[in-house]
């Protein structure tokens, strides 16, 4: 008899492909977003089945906490911009101009090339090679942490991770350059349902985000996952206008954007000044340094993601009038 788990995996794989096709084929923008959210959810399950709980955690935090809200906000923004805010915004249709056949063909060719490249890389890889697991396991005692993924990300290939942190910083700089806008006045407190939810959920999200950061040293978790979870607090506060970005807070925000990159680079420079290679932490302090970097990066990621969600540099406060969040 076939192992039922294999059937589960097959269903999962088929479901992912079907959802991807459906997300592309759906013509109604709102349905498209919902299908994409479900796609993220199911792919998190797939990462779990591939024994990659770290990736699943990141997908869960980003997919459920940030992406959905971001897409919904974008849709709302588009509908306001195209002048349909009068009718029930969620039911309004956006009529995009038809895409020229040439563009479609060029896109198809490009995607086909990528798929081809992936196929070649997959077929060219050794079928049952040892991978890097052995090497990582061998070097673990020198890493200062107990979780291999964290050891690789923050120690063995820390330079790459630093660059990934810079990407987020670059993104928020670009957004603040392009979009400057008014912040709405703080809204009157929302209804009782929201208050009850906020009392229960917000502290819990903060605790879980911090826990993920801390547990990263010995189990799946870490700066990115923790930061993404904490960003959800920012999103909720921004959405309900419990917090409104104020021009006076720009300095603090800028500091928070840079904090992760700065702490990361500073540690590298300090270590290098001691006559070592940039990310060759002294073993006695390795865990402290890694946790320090991760803590700062977590804060940066949380604030940056929330700022990206807000999508503009706050220039002044608006006290009344039409809102366009």
């Amino acid at each position: 008899m076939i192992d039922p788990l294999v059937i589960f995996d097959l269903l999962l794989a088929l479901g992912i492909v079907a959802l991807a096709v459906a997300a592309l084929a759906t013509r109604e923008s709102f349905a498209m977003i919902v299908v994409f959210i479900v796609f993220g959810l199911v792919s998190a399950l797939a990462w779990v089945r591939l024994s990659a709980p770290d990736v699943a955690l990141a997908e869960a935090a980003i997919g459920t906490g940030v992406t959905g809200a971001l897409l919904l906000k974008t849709l709302h923004h588009l509908r306001c911009a195209t002048g349909q805010p009068g009718q029930n915004a969620t039911q309004a249709q956006i009529s995009a101009p038809p895409v020229p056949v040439g563009v479609t063909l060029a896109n198809a060719a490009f995607c086909g090339l990528i798929t081809l490249g992936l196929a070649v890389a997959f077929l060219g890889a050794p079928a049952a090679g040892p991978g890097f697991e052995g090497l990582v396991a061998q070097a673990m005692p020198q890493s200062g942490v107990e979780h291999p993924v964290t050891a690789v990300l923050l120690n063995f290939r820390a330079y790459d991770t630093l660059m990934e942190v810079v990407v987020l910083l670059a993104a928020v700089i670009a957004v603040w350059q392009i979009e400057r806008g008014l912040s709405d006045a703080p809204a009157p407190v929302m209804g009782e349902v929201w208050q009850g939810f906020a009392r229960l959920a917000l502290p819990a999200i903060v605790v879980v985000g911090t826990y993920l950061l801390w547990v990263g040293a010995e189990a799946p978790g870490g700066a990115f996952q923790g930061g993404a979870v904490l960003a959800a607090v920012g999103l909720l506060l921004l959405l309900t206008r419990a917090y409104v970005p104020q021009p006076a807070h720009r300095g603090i925000a800028r500091g928070a954007f840079v904090l992760g990159t700065a702490a990361f680079a500073l540690v590298a420079l300090l270590v290098a000044s001691g006559g070592r290679v940039a990310f060759e932490y002294p073993l006695a302090h390795a865990k402290t340094l890694i946790l320090l970097i991760e803590g700062m990066v977590t804060l940066s990621i949380a604030v940056t993601l929330a700022a990206l969600f807000h999508g503009r540099e706050p220039m002044a406060l608006k006290h009344e009038g039409k809102d366009d969040t």
Partner: protein
Amino acid sequence: MTNFLSLILIVLLLSIFAGLIRVFRGPAPAERMLAAQLFGTASVAILLVLSQVMQMQALLDVALVFALLGAVTLVAFVVLAERGAR
């Protein structure tokens, strides 16, 4: 026991696929959105069962994140829909 749990997993996954009908047919946005919210609950269940089947404690954390953050999208949906109607 593992076989039994695996069967439960299949049933849970099929329940998600069944719910997709509501996502595709709609017609109201709220119907699509609430169906997607229910999938979050089903995913938590799948993760809890998987953590037993795969003997992986960390999956409980993933389930925790799903359960906690599932409502964020819903809050965005409700807030933005209300704002648009004004």
